[in-house]
């Protein structure tokens, strides 16, 4: 076990994981329509290789990566390509090109989907990286950064540690927890494949201490492998953020606007490792993922193995439908997720959960003047001063906000959660950030 180095900020949150923690992962089934956005991930959108009316099978390539940072996209089930057209993208908040697939219900598997290797001795690191690219693997924690890019850091940035993020600090969500509990062996297998591909000698599995069963399951699975180690984190939001994890476990700090690889670390999510582990053994690309459908607003909070592109409405139906009047439907966790206005939107590769809050739960708090209590300052995991950043942002003082490092804020929401005056700190900070960035873009444009 690794002893923790330093942690700063964070808040104790009522995690509400009990709602769905007891529900085993179950297949969600095949909905009537799948919507697969060409940009599921961070980076350039992928380019379709199929045409409308084409028949495709489960695991068949639909779109190939374009450019250095991009990812492939595969058919989650067999069926017909109904359309390639713009659809409303819940995260980007605008119309984005998507491949619309009409499943035929037969769920025929593509011929190319064959097991790659039984164990890691029969596959080389380079082959793993190529395979990761081939199956369109992206980080399943939320940002959906293409994994293959992570595994090939520039030569001048030596990597010495690989962190497997099983902290799952977002309240409500239990998809990683269930994976670690039920599929610990596959997760560890996938993690070791990632280690081998990145040629990293040390791997640390990081789990928050509110998941003792997951900890023991993972401990059992990793015990044969001396290169793996375990770090148990105190459960405080947002301990599972990439930067916070690195600080807590290794005592290193990622420089502003830098990446984990700048301090010799790669971080991957439990779901990512699981998908890779399973893919090596079965050949199935990233076409499905575990999604928690939970919250007080659904009748039967569940953890589903859902096809990418499944509509949110279908999953909520599967979870027994709404209980009471829904007030808010959130894609992702309640701290950093995005609320959607329509249930027609599909889940993406990065969607870790769908949280439904009841109408009573989303009452609008009355905003009071800041009483300068400093709770937001104590809460900020980056040791920023949200009270000032927000005050500048509110008054439109962009330069001051920038000097107060508003651009460093990771929008974790800890400050706004704690604020007794219920001030929308993150909203203001986000506003300032986008205005500053827009200004910068305009300046760069003018210079060119």
């Amino acid at each position: 076990m690794i002893s923790l180095k330093r942690t700063s900020g964070g808040v104790r949150v009522d995690d509400k994981k009990d709602l769905s923690a007891g529900s085993p992962i179950e297949p969600a089934g095949i909905p009537g329509e799948l919507v697969l956005f060409l940009s599921q991930h961070t980076g350039a959108p992928s380019k379709p290789v199929v045409k409308v009316q084409d028949l495709v099978k489960r695991g068949q390539l639909l779109a190939e990566p374009q450019g250095a940072i991009s990812a492939a996209l595969h058919a989650p089930t067999s069926g017909k390509v109904k359309a390639i057209e713009p659809r409303y993208h819940p995260i980007q908040g605008r119309l984005v090109d998507a491949i619309v697939l009409e499943p035929d219900g037969k769920n025929e598997v593509f011929e190319g989907v064959v097991p790659r290797a039984r164990d890691l001795d029969s596959i080389s690191g380079e082959e793993i990286i190529a395979f990761v690219r081939e199956i369109g693997l992206v980080g399943l924690g939320g940002a959906a950064f293409p994994t293959a890019v992570k595994l090939t850091p520039p030569a001048d940035k030596p990597i010495d540690t690989y962190l497997l993020n099983g902290a799952e600090c977002e309240p409500y969500l239990t998809s990683d927890y269930r994976l670690m509990l039920e599929e610990a062996e596959v997760v560890i297998f996938g993690f070791r494949a990632l280690l081998k591909a990145a040629r990293v000698a040390r791997g640390i599995v990081c789990i928050e201490d509110n998941k003792p069963e997951a900890i023991s399951a993972m401990q059992r699975a990793m015990s044969p492998f001396p290169e793996l180690d375990l770090a148990v984190l105190p459960s405080r939001y947002p301990r599972g953020g990439e930067k916070q994890l690195i600080e807590a476990v290794l005592g290193r700090e990622v420089p502003p606007a830098g990446l984990p690889l700048d301090v010799g670390v790669i971080v991957s999510n439990v779901g990512t490792a699981f998908t890779l582990g399973k893919a090596i053994r079965t050949g199935l690309p990233l076409v499905e993922r575990v999604i928690s459908v939970t919250g007080e607003g659904v009748t039967r909070p569940s953890n589903f193995l859902a096809l990418i592109g499944t509509p949110v409405s279908y999953l909520i139906e599967k979870a027994g439908g709404f209980s009471g009047t829904p007030g808010k439907v959130i894609m992702g966790g309640p701290m950093m997720g995005i609320s959607v206005k329509s249930l027609d939107v599909p889940v993406l590769k990065g969607t870790s959960g769908i949280v439904v809050l009841k109408k009573e739960q989303v009452k609008k708090d009355k905003m009071l003047p800041c009483i300068r209590c400093g709770r937001c300052v104590d809460a900020c995991p980056l040791r920023l001063l949200p009270v000032w950043m927000a005050a500048y942002a509110e008054r439109g003082l962009l330069e001051e906000a920038e000097r107060a490092r508003v651009l460093d804020c990771c929008e974790c929401g800890a400050c706004a959660y704690e604020c007794p005056a219920k001030r929308p700190l993150v909203q203001w900070i986000r506003m300032a950030k986008s205005e500053i960035l827009a200004k910068r873009r305009a300046q760069n444009h003018a210079r060119k």
Binding site: S8, V11, V13, D14, K243, E253, V254, P255, P256, S313, F322, P326, G327, K328, P334, M335, M336, G337, S339, V340, S342, L343, L357, Q361, V362, L368, P369, C370, I371, R372, C373, G374, R375, V377, D378, P381, L382, R383, L384, L385, V387, W388, E400, A401, R403, A404, R405, D408, E411, G413, A416, Y417, E418, C419, P420, A421, K422, P424, V426, Q427
Partner: protein
């Protein structure tokens, strides 16, 4: 099935803490001291507290009505100001003293600057400072003997300590229970500590402010306590004899007028303790807690400007400091 869904910016859930809840905690923490004052000084104490609170709440409501702002007495902060001001008054003052003091505290020190969150000095202490300057005779002479309720004008323990008054010092036990001359709420150390510990345990106040305050006062008195003779002062007595405990736990910790960073709050506590020490040992007044805290209130924006944490990912304090200093 298509219901109206709320769209908003994350985070989508908020913590349970509210301004009102925090204020309520402070009021709860003040109850032991209020009860102690009732026992020690009788019905007079009750009247003073009631008059002070009523005046504070009424002035807040009236002022806000007058300038057509939303009436905010519901946040309970005016109640706290009223109680705190009453705590600092001698128990035998005429009742118009708390009424005027609270009105001054609320209208002049708080509302004129924009209400809760915008005042730059602690309203209760500003009210006390005004009263002290306006009617010094009442504020320094109107004592009641504890338990017997006799009006006396003799010297308080602090004045005795300072050598400006005649009298005998009570024993440590009497200090702890509060059986001595002094303001309404400052005498019973045990009751105050009870409330203070409650506030710290509930996470309402930061222990650093009282620690810095009382620590500085203790060590400073120990070292410089007797003129011309080092290490002959009585640090414990310095903490017990005046309003230091009331000030350190309930006045200096006022959010609005103390720094927002943990380190800043420690500095604020130390500063207030230091100024109190200066006034007590070398100044003209026997007691310096009020001005110690008020002066540190004024310095708070400066502390906030220069005492900033080392931001995540920045190698040295300096970069962050420059950023913060330039930012404001």
């Amino acid at each position: 099935m298509e219901e109206k869904l709320v769209i908003s910016s994350s985070p989508h859930i908020k913590g349970p803490k509210t301004v009102r809840g925090i204020m309520l905690d402070v009021i709860i923490a003040l109850i032991p001291a209020c009860l102690a004052s009732l026992i020690l000084f009788g019905w007079k104490a009750l009247l003073i507290i009631m008059a002070s609170v009523a005046s504070a709440v009424a002035s807040e409501a009236l002022y806000e009505k007058a300038v057509k702002r939303e009436v905010t007495v519901g946040d309970l902060s005016a109640v706290i100001t009223g109680i705190l001001l009453a705590m600092t008054l001698p128990p035998n003052v005429p009742l118009w003293i708390p009424v005027i003091g609270s009105a001054f505290a609320i209208v002049i020190a708080k509302q004129i600057f924009g209400g809760l969150g915008c005042n730059f000095v602690n309203p209760a202490l500003a009210g006390r400072a005004f009263l002290l300057a306006a009617w010094p005779m009442h504020m320094t002479r109107d004592w009641l003997n504890p338990l017997t309720y006799d009006a006396v004008t003799s010297a308080t323990p602090l004045a005795v300590l300072k050598g400006t008054g005649q009298g005998t010092l009570p024993g440590i036990k009497d200090f702890l229970l509060g059986v001595r001359l002094g303001s309404l709420g400052e005498t019973s150390v045990l009751a105050l500590l009870l409330g203070g510990i409650y506030l710290i345990a509930r996470g309402v106040i930061d222990y650093r402010i009282p620690l810095g305050f009382l620590g500085t006062l203790f060590v400073g008195t120990l070292v410089f306590g007797k003129p011309g003779a080092f290490f002959q002062g009585d640090g414990v007595l310095a903490i017990l004899a005046g309003g230091a405990i009331l000030g350190a736990f309930f006045m200096a910790t006022d959010y609005v007028t103390s720094p927002v960073t943990a380190r800043g709050r420690l500095y604020m506590g130390i500063g207030a303790g230091f100024i109190t020490l200066l006034i007590r040992l070398w100044g003209g007044y026997p007691e310096g807690v009020t001005y110690g805290i008020l002066l540190m209130n004024l310095v708070t924006p400066l502390i906030d400007r220069f005492v900033v944490p080392r931001y995540y990912g920045y190698a040295h304090d300096r970069a962050a400091k420059e950023a913060a200093a330039g930012g404001r």
